[in-house]
Amino acid sequence: MNDYPLRVPDASEVTCDDPGVRQWVADWLASWRIAPPGRLSLRISVSDVAVGEADEREPFRQPLVEIRSGPPHNDLRIRWLAGNAIAVLDPKEPRADIIIAPAALADRERLQQTFLVAVVVFLLRRAGWHHVHGAIARDRAGREWLLAGDAKAGKSTTAALLATHGWSVGTDDLTFLAAADDAVDAHAPHIPIALREGGAALLAARGGAPARGGRKQAFFPEELGGSFASRARPTILMFPRVEGAVTRIEPLTPGAALAELVKWSAWVALEPEFAQLHLDLLAALARQARAFRLSLGPDLFEGKDLLMSLVP
């Protein structure tokens, strides 16, 4: 399917009492180049007000954030654990009220990559886009893939490698599934692929920008010789893991593929009113695509067409 144009209508409305912070968040969201069906609203306040309001609900923890949802408040609250910042999201509409303490702004990279990303993930859910840990890719034959798995599955290195082979790829970890006609589409924000030092060395990748506090190097697919895929209608699902000496695939039943997709959609179980929609989207995707477990061996780096040849 066609990618979005380089410029898309502004998908968000950001307000803030601090014009610098407003511009920073608005520019960051605009850089994602996404076009969800609803407009996201972020009302930000920079304030010293204590944000640690008592909330007895059982938290769901992700790196540096705690998420609480359900009764008695019935909203969704995301709290940053590396500093004082909290977001309260409307139960249904893509609207968030956010308070950020001035001191928290000293670490903007982490604030963005953990707290604000989580806020946007849940705002997009309210607009009909549901998150999966995965990367989309379009091979040189035009077939569209989704590689799903956790941070250690080899997704990022594989996505970057495919870009060096001339594929179109999305970002390595943030993909959003949405119902479209009678199919499921996958959308990717324009965020660079973050590689550990070893991954970048394997690809002989040069350039990029430091990310995650300098622990990783981030590359856009365009910098690696590929192009950016902003959306796809996957017909091939891959669940990679690094193991063995030889790269190989093993077919999965639709049911096994669904179980894998649930595993890599960590937030599917939050918010009862969205969980069934999310789960049904994952099932529709498992129905739409052929699925494989992908064992990644070192030979992956030797043959340019290896992955394409494995899937006839």
Binding site: T253, P254, G255, A259, V262, V268, A269, A275, L279
Partner: protein, 91 residues
């Protein structure tokens, strides 16, 4: 004493061909379920007894009442153990 089983309100279910996945929003655990299991869980959206489930299985599948009862009993015991069901004993 009659025991009635109902789907736990925090359970979400999706069917995919001849299998499915049940997702428990409370424990955030998911379970792959066979076609028969999905049928039973869908039936439990309304309170049902073991006899109700057995009747449903024998009308849907080519199975003896004895085997249907054993399968249903095993499934309900497992479902109860994993918190997928509400169980109510009524006089």
């Amino acid at each position: 004493m009659t025991t009635r089983y109902t789907l736990h309100p925090e359970l979400r279910l999706t069917r995919l061909g001849d299998e499915g996945v049940a997702l428990h929003l409370g424990s955030r655990r998911y379970f792959t379920v066979s076609e028969t299991g999905v049928d039973i869980l869908e039936a439990l959206k309304t309170p049902s007894t073991l006899a109700d489930i057995v009747a449903r299985l024998t009308s849907s599948y080519d199975v003896t009442p004895e085997l249907a009862e054993k399968s249903a009993r095993d499934f309900l015991d497992n479902g109860r153990r994993h918190g997928l069901l509400h169980v109510e004993d009524a006089p």
